[in-house]
């Protein structure tokens, strides 16, 4: 049985970018191209803009960490050309010993905004140049780490009792500013001490 032929985009990429195209593979009929991290943004931009490629639609951005700790973490870009009815999966390998960083593709596809934030949230990969890189599914004060990493236990790093303690100690009001709680109009009229307590996110005493 002969191996299925890879997408013609692979040959074009090799001709254009040479060694920056690390390797390729065909898995279950899908072509996967591994590219060098530092050229990834250029390569993705070329794949989007070159008329012969025209991968104008970014289906998905995600990351994969393997159970084998030696293997690098991969950022996966699933591309689609609406006009050519073709797909291509581009992968960037990130060495886990170094900071996990890759250039954001938000400037190429606005659709990358939230999915890159999700990868940041779940895997701790930093997307350089992302306009608004912060957690999206977990809350902003989440301190347990990155849930989809393999060193993250299924039930989290903290014990159930610690999670309960933190939840009870959390002060939801401190997540909102008084302005946001519709105090904005009267904010300057309330007494100083009350304003100070609000600013500390303190609860009022319930008599």
């Amino acid at each position: 049985m002969t191996a299925p032929a890879p997408s013609p985009s692979v040959a074009a990429l090799r001709a254009r970018f040479g060694d920056s195209v690390v390797r390729h593979r065909v898995s279950c009929g899908d072509t996967i191209v591994w590219v060098a991290r530092d050229r990834a943004h250029d390569i993705l931009a070329w794949l989007r803009d070159d008329p012969g490629q025209a991968f104008d639609y970014l289906t998905d951005v995600t990351a994969v960490e393997y159970r084998d700790a030696e293997l690098p973490l991969e950022v996966v870009y699933q591309l689609r050309s609406l006009a050519r009815h073709a797909d291509l999966r581009v992968k960037v390998e990130l060495d886990k010993a170094a900071p996990l960083e890759v250039d954001s593709v938000c400037d190429l596809w606005t659709g990358a905004n939230w999915v890159e934030r999700e990868v940041f949230d779940m895997f701790g990969v930093t997307f350089r140049g992302h306009p608004d890189l912060r957690r999206i599914l977990m809350w902003d004060t989440y301190a347990e780490g990155f849930p989809l990493r393999k060193d993250f236990p299924l039930r989290g790093h903290f014990s159930r009792s610690e999670q309960t303690r933190q939840a009870l100690a959390a002060n939801p009001e401190s997540h909102y500013s008084p302005e946001e709680l519709s105090l904005a109009e009267t904010y300057h009229e309330i007494p100083d001490d009350m304003r100070e307590r609000l600013s500390r996110g303190e609860h009022g005493e319930v008599a």
Partner: protein
């Protein structure tokens, strides 16, 4: 107005474009988050609000009644499905998919089975394919029904939701008769289905297919040329064709802008290329076009259902599950009487299915858009990575763009027209 007074350290500081740490005290990000113009007002909608269709929180900056900025906050329903999937066998993931997009559980089940089958190189039987097409199209109808009914309520029309939910009940009854559950269907297994349809089921679905277009026509009469409906929807929430493609929108959201991308036609699965149906495409990319696209899709789904029922009649008695001992359990009677079958049954249940090393992305046209399941396998019985490509997550990410410059009341209409389901966004 004062600058932000309540701040807290982010445990995981976010980064802005220049690589500096950012803090998001307000939940309003951006360089000028601390500088709210004095005449501007912040409005918080949700997370507990009926018009956000789930636990979505929107922080909206208003100038008068005009939206300057809209910042969605998601994650309130995060359940860690992707993480859970890494600890389960492939067939054990099926129940998780019910709970992601819970308005179209059967279509999610089908996508999961297709992704696992792609990983293993299995082609399912013809009868199974037809049954899965029926499952997908029934899901499309009930999902669009919920969308149309609730959107009507958001805009002030209460009557159609009652007509439509009556029809939805009929599909739920059919789901219950087939799978035993109304919502958590868990219909598919890798290589086949959990069960074949019961006796007399086809006739009930045929009755539904006869009755349903009449209800749709009534809704059409009620809405399509209704002055309020047109006024609230036409030209509201417009997104351009280029922005929709660039923003990775999919499904009716993308097609309403005039892009004819439908996974059923462009990357056919389950033999969709052999069915005769049309893909409605909009022109202006506004709320009204999204309504027209979804309304027509329900008619087209009914057409597909009728064709599938005709095919099913010719496949009576044909096998549903593939003849592949790697994935399909032996019949219960054999497992209880024959030692080999019992061992096989035991091993498969206890150890799970083992796909070869590899990875597969399977995208299907879900009611909300392109749902993709991406499996990475290292040859063990549990996936290394199970990624859900959530259509409503990406569709919702375009909400700020669509809301900018709209009126506050339009935000509700626009948010409704996106057709989100938080179970899938937060996963």
């Amino acid at each position: 107005m004062s600058t932000r007074t309540v701040e807290f350290e982010l445990a995981t500081p976010g980064l802005d474009a220049a690589g500096r740490d950012i803090r998001v005290p307000l939940g309003v990000a951006g360089p000028d988050a601390d500088e709210l113009a004095p005449e501007h007002m912040l409005i918080n909608i949700g997370p507990q609000h009926p018009a956000t269709h789930g636990v979505l929180r929107l922080v909206i900056e208003l100038d008068g009644e005009t939206v300057k900025r809209c910042i969605p906050h998601v994650g309130y329903l995060h359940s860690g499905f992707e993480k859970l999937g890494e600890y389960r066998h492939y067939n054990q993931i099926v129940p998780l998919t019910d709970r992601t997009d819970y308005l179209s559980p059967m279509a999610n089940n089908v996508c999961l089975a297709l992704a696992a089958e792609k990983l293993m190189g299995i082609t399912v039987t013809e009868r199974c394919q037809v049954l899965r097409v029926i499952a997908c199209e029934m899901s499309r109808i009930i999902s669009h029904i919920v969308w149309l009914g609730t959107t009507g309520i958001d805009i002030g029309a209460f009557t159609p939701v009652l007509w439509l939910f009556h029809q939805r009940e009929k599909i739920y009854d059919l789901q219950e008769a087939w799978t035993g559950a109304r919502l958590t269907t868990s219909l598919t297994r890798v290589g086949g289905m959990m069960a074949d349809i019961p006796d007399g089921w086809e006739e009930r679905l045929r009755n539904f297919c006869r009755a349903f277009p009449k209800v749709l026509n009534e809704v059409d009469t009620m809405f399509t040329r209704n002055a309020i409906w047109c006024g609230r929807n036409q030209g509201v929430g417009v997104i351009s064709r280029a922005a929709a493609v660039n923003g990775s929108l999919s499904g009716p959201m993308l097609r309403s802008t005039g892009v004819d991308y439908d996974v059923r036609k462009d990357r056919p699965y389950l033999g969709y290329e052999t069915y005769d149906f049309d893909v409605p495409v909009g022109e202006f990319g506004d709320n009204y076009d999204r309504y027209l696209v979804r309304l027509e899709e329900m008619f087209q789904s009914t057409r597909i259902l009728e064709q599938a029922l005709d095919r099913l009649a010719g496949l009576r008695g044909a096998p549903v599950n593939v003849d592949d001992p790697r994935v399909i359990l032996p019949p219960k009677s054999r497992a209880m009487s024959d030692m080999e079958s019992m061992i096989h049954h035991f091993k498969q249940v206890m150890e799970g299915i083992r796909p070869p090393v590899g990875e597969a992305y399977m995208g299907i046209e879900n009611p909300k858009g392109e749902l993709g399941y991406y499996f990475v396998s290292d040859g063990s019985a549990k996936p290394v990575r199970w990624r859900i490509r959530p259509p409503s997550f990406l569709n919702l990410s375009a909400l700020p763009q669509m809301c900018e410059g709209a009126l506050l009341s339009d935000v509700i209409a626009i948010n409704a027209s996106v057709d989100i389901v938080m179970g899938e966004i937060d996963r």
